[in-house]
Symmetry: C2
Subunit: 185 residues, 2 copies
DNA sequence: CGCGCGATTGAGTAATTTCAAATCTAGTGG
DNA sequence: CCACTAGATTTGAAATTACTCAATCGCGCG
């Protein structure tokens, strides 16, 4: 079922009912509760996740024990430790749930099989990756170009929904600013 | 022939001679000289570029006229203003040659046709994009996690070749540091 | 009421920027 | 061989930005 996944895919490639029927079978459903970890540093990363409902963060904990948020993911977003997954390394990131969350999960192998079986899906993921790449370029640009304050207002403009759901300390971590500095904006 | 392109693709998908023969025809060859622009802000971005030889930089010029380097590209790398290309917008980036450069060029449409005709190539570009995405995540992480100095030494470790070919002012621009600060490391 | 979490405020400190000037280097022409 | 120039790099000093640490505030919930 999961019409949210179907709609998400169909933004890029149209699907017949039969195709979607098939595609769906590559995914498994899983529920997580607030504060629960989906990926944990040091462990193998088998799956990639599509968010049906809820909110997660991916973060890195550095040598001094400080954490930096690399990515949020809410409904309609994909998330995992891609670096670890592709290279078959243990995770360097942690991913946990900021809210109760429902995910569709697909393993690296199953995703490859899916792409092999459906050229359409290979296309879909190629385009998705390209959009992801562009989004990260924009984020890098905002590091290069803007000071903390304008990164903040820019994020506020781009994802107002996030600010309703996430404590400001996490926003600060995502922007690379201390929470004190952020609260002075 | 362009064996560098073939080898580059074959790091991810094996090709028969006939396949490569075909694939090659989707690209056109073009030479640029040092300081020449490949993409210019405000213009349409038709092509994506694969570097056979030489060195380029992609940069953004902000309202105050300062420029920030988003990407370097040397042999074996792909470059264009992806944001502009995918969304059919005028370029917001500039790309110019730091050295005399030889490129293989492919238009957005031809790349799509190539991916349509060769599932293998769609796969290739999906994997390439994923690696690109990961690399940008790492770069963001180094903005979040490290101060300017350790970003510098990290880059030095990762791409020593770059430092032989690029003036330090450009490295500074890439790292988001003033050239004066960089020269004090 | 009081606890706990998130957010804010203040003060001192560290990192980086800016602007200006000095130095270095490679290439050119006399 | 030398003087000269343009570009790149370095250095100095003041100003700015953001950080850290510590304390305080505000609010919802048991």
């Amino acid at each position: 079922m999961y019409t949210i996944l179907r709609q998400h895919i169909e933004k890029i490639v149209p699907l017949t009912n039969e195709e979607y029927e098939q595609i769906q079978t590559y995914f498994t459903f899983k529920k997580f509760r607030k504060h629960q970890f989906v990926v944990q540093e040091g462990n193998a990363v088998e799956q990639e996740y599509f968010v049906l409902k809820g909110l997660l963060k991916a973060f890195y904990i550095n040598a001094e024990g400080k954490d930096h948020i690399i990515q949020f993911a809410m409904e309609d977003w994909w998330i995992t430790d891609y670096q670890a997954q592709i290279n078959r390394n243990p995770a360097t990131l942690n991913i946990d749930c900021i809210e109760d969350t429902e995910l569709l999960c697909i393993t690296f192998e199953r995703k490859n099989e899916l792409c092999q079986a459906f050229h359409k899906m290979e296309h879909f993921f190629r385009i998705k990756s390209a959009y992801g790449y562009i989004a990260l370029q924009q984020r890098i640009l905002s590091f290069l170009n803007n000071d903390a304050q304008s990164r903040y207002t820019q994020l506020l403009r781009q994802y107002p929904a996030l600010f309703q759901r996430v404590p400001k300390a996490l926003i600060a971590s995502y922007l690379g600013v201390s929470r004190e500095t952020l609260s002075r904006f």
